[in-house]
């Protein structure tokens, strides 16, 4: 029966991937910050997933199961390529205290990027990918309480950043 499950899973999986591929790409991109690497991560993730598809017990877990693979693959990828996240000029500018002339939209655009990865991934998975916090914790291999506290911290950080932006425009 296991074989049959694997095949049923495969059909569901193929469809799931085709429908959601853009979301996987965005998630991968949020780690790699680079188009080619994100494509590689998506490709690796799909192949890995297909190899272990028969170990997935229930298709209802497919979403969080696959997201976990994508996240792990992305983190592995960054580790393997010893590629610290590339910090672009805008971010550097933001991080330099002396610089005051930050543009409103630039900040809003980068608010998420500037968030450390451990906070950013929680926000993306929970809010943008509509995953329950318990699933997010599972995907990231952290405790539920940790996921919660990271989310609060993330929101706090974002709020502060966004308020800062407001402050900037009010003063500017």
């Amino acid at each position: 029966m296991r074989t049959r499950n694997a095949f049923q899973h495969e059909e569901v999986f193929v469809q799931f991937i085709r429908e959601q591929k853009e979301r996987f790409y965005l998630l991968a991109y949020s780690y790699t910050k680079n188009e080619q690497d994100a494509l590689d991560v998506v490709q690796d993730s799909i192949q890995k997933a297909m190899l272990s598809l028969d170990r997935l017990e229930n298709v209802t877990y497919m979403k969080s199961w696959f997201y976990k693979i994508v996240v792990r693959t992305a983190i592995d990828f960054l580790r393997k390529h010893k590629r610290l996240q590339v910090t672009d000029d805008d971010t550097l500018q933001y991080l330099t205290p002396a610089q005051e002339d930050v543009y409103e939209n630039v900040d809003l655009e980068h608010a998420l990027d500037e968030l450390p990865q451990m906070y950013r991934e929680v926000v993306i998975l929970h809010y943008f990918e509509d995953l329950k916090l318990a699933d997010v914790a599972n995907i990231l291999d952290i405790k539920l309480s940790t996921a919660k506290s990271r989310l609060y911290k993330a929101l706090k950080l974002l709020k502060i950043q966004l308020e800062d932006v407001k402050g900037e425009t009010a003063h500017g």
């Binding site: 495969e10 949020s30 297909m50 998420l112």
Partner: protein, 296 residues
């Protein structure tokens, strides 16, 4: 959701999706499937479950078709792509049927005729295979395999020759090869009779093939065997004596403009010879040819 979060989500979604994504995803799905096939033991355990994986590539995703068409698969304009793949992987039943599709022909009638033929044949192969598997299962099982696909024999500025093969595996295997040759310039399908002035070509080609068969048998010290008379083979060895080609014998035109005649496995020789081909020297044909445009 909080307004700021909504704004952030919008930003998150704003990352451009590269057009290669479709291609990468389809490729990964396909490769994942292949890799999986190679490590069958783990999941072949247990009851035999039917699987039909319908790899729709081009027909599902226009974006992918577009991406693919940007990759020069074959030649510059007219291309051959895999339209669909049927796959069955079970303990004793194996099928892999690739259906080609000729793209970018301006002559829509020709394109439709060929592509519909390919698709219909692919589907028929698959249906027949599944029916046979059903029969076998009712009768206590057996082994059955089918492998069908295509290869490009010639693709130059003038000629596109595409060969499609079907390998049936029951106890032994049989192979059938079919060719279509297209004049890319004029976008017409080339048939064997139209290359020649009259029916005389049948005799000319047949005689030449017999000669080549005899030479090959003699040179190989009878390692190679064709069912032809006059080569020192005992009559009982001639399962089915080759006397003449069919008027519409399978053929293709090689890259160098030579006519190549093809015979299926078992058609003119024992099974171990497989599919056999004979290149006919243009010199031999020159009196029968209408022109030296295609064959030279």
């Amino acid at each position: 959701m909080d307004k700021k979060l909504q704004e952030l989500e919008k930003q998150y979604m704003k990352v451009p999706i590269p057009k290669e994504l479709d291609f990468v995803v389809e490729k990964a799905l396909k490769q994942g499937r292949k890799k999986k096939k190679n490590r069958t033991p783990q999941w072949v355990l247990g009851s035999a479950a039917a699987a039909m994986l319908f790899t729709a590539g081009l027909n599902v995703s226009p974006a992918m078709a577009r991406t693919l068409s940007e990759i020069p698969v074959v030649g510059s304009v007219i291309k051959v792509l895999t339209w669909t793949e049927y796959e069955v992987a079970e303990d004793n039943y194996d099928a892999n049927i690739k259906v080609p599709s000729i793209e970018n022909l301006e002559n829509q009638d020709l394109a439709n005729t060929l592509n519909e033929k390919y698709r219909a044949e692919g589907k028929t192969l698959y249906d027949e295979f599944m029916a046979e598997v059903g029969d076998l299962k009712l009768n206590g099982g057996g082994h059955l395999g089918i492998d069908s696909g295509y290869e490009i024999k010639t693709d130059n500025e003038q000629i596109l020759s595409i060969g499609r093969y079907v390998v049936n595996t029951v106890a032994s295997s049989s192979t059938v090869m079919e060719y279509d040759t297209i004049d890319k310039e004029n976008e017409i399908l080339i048939t064997l009779p139209m290359l020649f002035k009259d029916q005389h070509y049948i005799e000319t080609i047949s005689e030449n093939i017999k000669e080549q068969m005899r030479t090959q048998i003699a040179e190989s010290n009878q390692d190679k065997v064709y069912w032809v008379k006059g080569a020192g083979l005992a009559d009982e060895e001639l399962m089915e004596e080759f006397t003449t080609i069919k008027p519409d014998q399978q053929f293709y035109i090689s890259d160098k403009g030579k006519l190549v005649i093809s015979f299926d496995k078992y058609e003119v020789a024992p099974g171990y010879m497989g599919v056999v081909e004979f290149e006919i020297p243009t010199d031999v044909l020159k009196d029968d040819l209408v022109s030296t445009k295609y064959i030279h």
